[in-house]
Amino acid sequence: MPAFDYHAVGSVPEALDLLGQYGDEACLVAGGASLLLMMRQGLVRSSHVIGLRGVDELRGIWRLPGGGLEIRALTTHCEAECSPEVQAYCPALAESFSRIATVRVRNQGTVGGNLAYADPAHDPPPMLLALDARTVIAGPEGERTIPLSEFFVDSFRTVLGKEEILVAVRLPALPSTARSMYLKFLPRGEGTEGDYATVSVAATLWPGPDNICEDVRLALGSVGPVPMRIGRVENVLRGEQLISDLIEDAAGLVCGEIDPPDDVRGSATYKREMARVWTGRVLQNLLERV
């Protein structure tokens, strides 16, 4: 690992000051689960590592006025998975945190670190996208919020500037009829739960009278350079009566919207087909559950 100085900070302004001071030479560390691997493989070289562990204002989960939810960046995946607030807001969101790797990784990795790392195969991002999450970003000029759908730029790249810190994700209130689901497809089954998904599908659906789709949000992971909302499918379903044929037709449109890599978890062709199949099943399941 290349040599570096470690700076433990106690507040966001202190971290921002150091980012300003060291510029390109600095990087942030939250839980360290991903950064340490990247540094050891020589993929990240920073001569100044700024440790956020002591920043209390980056911890916690709470409900927002009106029924939304805020998760601060340093919340570990285990804390998020077990949080009564997360469970009450959306059980499928808790499920997405529980599907990450192993309990050791979930105890170390953080919600904010996971998003800033921007691995397109991780579990929480699709579910957060399907819940219309916004990211809260602190910088030298104050805070800004942007939709998570605009946060990921490319594999392992985000909109975060060199002098910015992801401080929280905020989720809007859900209507009482909304139902969500996160599906992680692992073709090799039992014993492989700690692996990355071959494809993952997250959806939030709220049907009105006669199963008319009032709104729907669909997002997929492991199917391209970034976890992505699939607006084309959402548009086909929104306002329509949700019948099996329509759901199947809409799910078929997923294939043209994604660009999955050929890799050890399957060929691009296979993943496209599985994205179609599992999108259809997730939507069908959400409809039947209501």
Partner: protein, 159 residues
Amino acid sequence: MSVHHLKFELNGELREIEVAADRLLIDMLREDCELTGTKEGCNVGVCGACSVLVDGQLLSACLLPAVFVDGCVIQTVEGLAGDGPALTSVQEAFIHRGGFQCGICTPGQIIAATALLAERPRPTADEVRRWMMGNLCRCTGYYKIIESVLAAAEIDEVQ
């Protein structure tokens, strides 16, 4: 490279130590503290051989910078039973149920099982499998490991 003065509790004993910023917890434990029970396996957080408890939380020592444990309470396999002759129920169960073959993964398995039983004293076999999924056994002695964890839960209940 910056150097950091750490204070922490290791297996019930207060320790103070100087480490470089890039020191990993596993190297600090094995080399600086001379506790070699914690094993290095994959070195990328996957195999679980380096499992330790930090403030009661199950973590991989190979992924954790030593500077992160300043002010923390660390337990390694050496500290589970203390100085007395009696082993913990998990350790007893692994011996009597044959929960190991070559033994290299055993410290990690025992630490992981200890963390599970602290959180869930009577887990189902499925819960044991799911929790222990991140602790690999290259001898593939999984059935006996799961049996051992379930047996340890029973010993705890009787006591």
